[in-house]
Symmetry: C2
DNA sequence: ACCTGAACACCGTTCAAGT
DNA sequence: ACCTGAACACCGTTCAAGT
């Protein structure tokens, strides 16, 4: 079973991340374990600790990758529209679609808790901020009569709202609420909020 | 260490739930273990399995209790207002306050995942529905010109929105978005949405 | 009848020892 | 130098055996 020198540090890292993502996608956060990842790439558990600080570190890196994918896709699909309102609404729909297609990986971003008192590293927080900034930037052209502070708050409200729909949809709690189409609900939330926000008085 | 006949089945159940809630409140979901709960009430692990099916069952019962408390408090604090709009807004504020005061217990309701394919029992789903119905009922007097179906959807949108704010606030992701007051954000979300929803045209 | 205590199959993490 | 394999301190869950 000795595989020494078969792979570089970086190769092992990539293999481990890919294997871990597969486990998460298929079985969710509960299905992940260091031993399973190690087995999947043909190494011993100990080897993982040469490449990651611990499981939290590994999960953080998976989440970083997921956030990158999500951000790329939001940019991509938004680029298909010219109308500012449609560009903003598209962000919400892309967010929902992604969560729907990759529920376990999407959930992991927001469910993963670092040990008490520890907070995510700066490079991770920036990836979250970047996504939020996309909402803010897309809202701006629609809200010329508002202060930057008001726009920031509105962007946070919109993102929170869409995010909440995702969470409740994934945990199937919206069934109870008699919701039929999650995309319709998202549209209703965003367009009514925007109508209220933009309309003067 | 033999405690036989010291307590009835029901007493052990209550003691275990109380001990488990304390652990959750203080240390979060990760801090909970069957062995810790057993130790806290002076019994062996095996005893817990005479009283609960498994850990998931225990957590479901904790969550049921938390949902009851939350619902009671929403009713209570709403009763302080007569104005329909204020009654509705109060629901959001109470929801946020509760999540802020009991983050770990509140999180557990929505983070806990049953094993693949299993869904919560009917009595649990009813507790979630009851909370949602409260939002719907409070929205009704404000939306006389809308169909029951539209009101249902609007209630779902409002609840999702407030819920999303809670989640992002607790996981400290709104800091990144430059939000100062969570209660202000909640007010902005609800009042702008309602303005858009109620305003004709 | 009620509860224990030990067992089983798993964990995350560390680190001396092997090649 | 690189990785292993065994160890340590934990898990959830079960169930024969003790009182």
């Amino acid at each position: 079973m000795a595989r020494r020198n078969d792979h570089s540090r970086d190769e092992i890292r990539e293999m481990a991340l890919a294997a871990a993502e597969k486990i998460i996608s298929e079985q969710g956060a509960k299905g992940l374990s260091a031993r399973k990842v190690a087995a999947a790439i043909g190494y011993t558990v100990g080897t993982l600790y040469l490449v990651f600080d611990n499981l939290d570190d590994l999960i953080l890196q998976i989440n970083a990758h997921t956030l990158d994918q999500l951000h790329d896709r939001m940019l991509e699909e938004q680029a298909r529209h010219k109308d500012p309102m449609e560009r903003l609404l598209q962000l919400g729909h892309t967010y929902i679609s992604f969560a729907d297609e990759e529920p376990h990986r999407w959930e992991l971003i927001f469910e993963h808790r670092l040990p008490e008192g520890q907070q995510p590293p700066g490079w991770f927080r920036e990836k979250v901020a970047r996504m939020f900034n996309l909402v803010e930037a897309s809202l701006e052209p629609l809200a010329a009569n508002h202060s930057p502070q008001e726009i920031k708050q509105a962007a946070a409200a919109l993102w929170s709202g869409v995010h909440g729909i995702c969470i409740l949809a994934i945990s199937r709690q919206l069934d109870v609420a008699g919701v039929e189409s999650v995309q319709d609900l998202t549209h209703s939330l965003m367009s009514n909020y925007l109508k209220g926000f933009i309309t003067p008085g």
